[in-house]
């Protein structure tokens, strides 16, 4: 294994993580809700359900965060490495997978692990292993 020191951004990553953790903490301490993005999105796709406006406003906050960011700095780079077929397949897998698995990086990886939930720890290990394996296959076996 070689470390990519050029792209390694430890302080921004740690500080960003602290903000994400603080936001998830505020949401659970004040609103009593889990900041799980896939779960929030899915519940807004259903009709009815409680707390729709709170869920919608949380997602709206994420959506509008770049506009607030741009008041102070230029947006960080967003570089895409897959074509439209890859994005389509990836989006479908993320949509179906997070529903069967009841969560994603935020709900399981941040909130769930912080609650010490065995389900979330297992889910996080599963999606990380699958992510590592997928990149290995695409980059090193198929050489994409």
């Amino acid at each position: 294994m070689t470390i990519d020191w050029i792209n390694f951004t430890p302080w921004a990553a740690l500080a960003g993580g602290v903000l994400i953790g603080a936001a998830a903490s505020l949401f659970v301490l004040l609103n009593g809700r889990i900041a799980g993005i896939s779960g929030l999105l899915a519940s807004l796709l259903e009709t009815g359900g409680e707390g729709r406006s709170e869920k919608l406003l949380f997602l709206l906050g994420i959506l509008l965060a770049p506009l607030l960011w741009m008041l102070f700095a230029t947006l960080p780079a967003m570089e895409f490495q897959s074509g439209w077929i890859g994005l389509l397949v990836a989006g479908m897998l993320v949509g179906v997978g997070t529903r069967y698995g009841s969560g994603c990086t935020s709900g399981h990886g941040v909130c769930g692990i912080s609650r010490l939930s065995p389900r979330s720890i297992v889910a996080t290990v599963a999606f990380m292993v699958a992510g590592f394996a997928t990149v290995y296959v695409l980059r090193h076996l198929l050489g994409g």
Binding site: I3, D4, P10, L29, N31, I34, G61, R99, P118, G131
Partner: protein
Amino acid sequence: MRKLTSFAAGLLFGLGLLLSGMANPAKVIGFLDLAGAWDPSLALVMVGAIATALVPFTWARKHERSLLDAPMQLPTKRELDGRLIGGSLLFGVGWGIAGICPGPAIAMLLGGHWQVVLFVLAMLGGMLLFSALERRRAC
């Protein structure tokens, strides 16, 4: 009040995603590429987030109501079943292909990249597909 705190928490969450590097698919894939030149940054995002959230979530587990008197809605499922593991594996494959997970997808949506729009539409399609399959299963 709770609507305001929802929005504020969402904003903070989004800023965190942008700062952390999670909203750059190339950086996410650099983290997932253990066999290449590995960028460990995103492991530190998890460390920072969990270290910050551990005490608040421990408090939440011990309380029935939030500080603003909302019911504490924490997941109650306990079983480690095939749906949890299979679903998470599928999610991980999708994450590995594009380097995008649901939170960053929302945070990048107004960034002016068609790739994010396509990804989000496909993701919502996948969620609707799941709901349709569940309804059939229930019949």
